[in-house]
């Protein structure tokens, strides 16, 4: 099974390189309308076992000409007693293996929520929906992490 080892950053975060892309059915619809299909975008993804669902920075969806395919209520630390509904988008998500060998990349199609992540210096929050397919080890003492899938 492929494994991605890494060093925790200065904030103790486990950050991996990832790509997000237009799902194949959406790409075909864009091509049928004679619109350009944007290539995959490189993202910095923070692994976050505290998140039920993965989130992508809202600016990314516009760059890929993606539109929402659902809505969901998500509770956040500041959402209060009446958390708002947020838009959900279907994307192609790839977590890149350090070797660069595509055979070892983690590829999946998933539904993600939109969030304002740019101020945090990341574009992607990898939640338990993705981690359900992986073994994630966080070693705070050693300052390292590993993601096996």
């Amino acid at each position: 099974m492929p494994i991605i080892p890494g060093q925790l950053d200065h904030q103790g975060r486990a950050v991996v390189a990832a790509q997000v892309s237009v799902p194949a059915p959406r790409a075909q619809a864009l091509q049928a309308a004679r619109l350009q299909v944007s290539g995959p975008l490189a993202l910095r993804g923070q692994i976050d076992p505290g998140a039920s669902i993965s989130c992508v920075d809202h600016a990314i969806f516009q760059s890929l000409s993606l539109t929402p395919c659902g809505q969901l209520t998500i509770v956040t630390p500041s959402s209060g007693p009446n958390p708002p509904r947020t838009r959900l988008y279907r994307v192609g998500l790839t977590v890149l293996h350090l070797t660069g060998n595509p055979t070892f990349h983690l590829r999946l199609a998933c539904v993600v929520a939109q969030a304002n992540l740019a101020p945090l210096g990341i574009d992607l929050l990898i939640g338990r929906d993705v981690l359900a397919l992986c073994r994630f080890v966080y070693d705070g003492r050693a300052g390292t992490f590993s993601l096996e899938y």
Partner: protein, 77 residues
């Protein structure tokens, strides 16, 4: 918000979908019409792109109560 109309359709049709034994399936909704039901969200999304192109459509899991999800960051309404 986008898909508000489709969500209203889902809420209106939910009792019928549950009665038909669709719980756990994924319903494809365009405007105020239920188009079809699918076993996976991927199938429903593909059908939506094929049938409605770039027009808005909703893929929603049929369930009696919506699960509560959590995020450590603020999502955008």
């Amino acid at each position: 918000m986008e898909l508000d109309r489709e969500m209203e359709t889902y809420q209106r049709e939910l009792p019928r979908l549950l009665e038909e034994g669709r719980e756990g399936q994924f319903v494809l909704i365009h405007g105020d019409q239920v188009d079809s039901c699918w076993e996976t969200d991927e199938q429903a999304y593909e059908a939506g792109c094929q049938r409605f192109g770039l027009a808005p459509f909703l893929v929603q899991r049929v369930q009696r109560t919506e699960p509560v999800l959590f995020s450590t960051v603020d999502v955008i309404p």
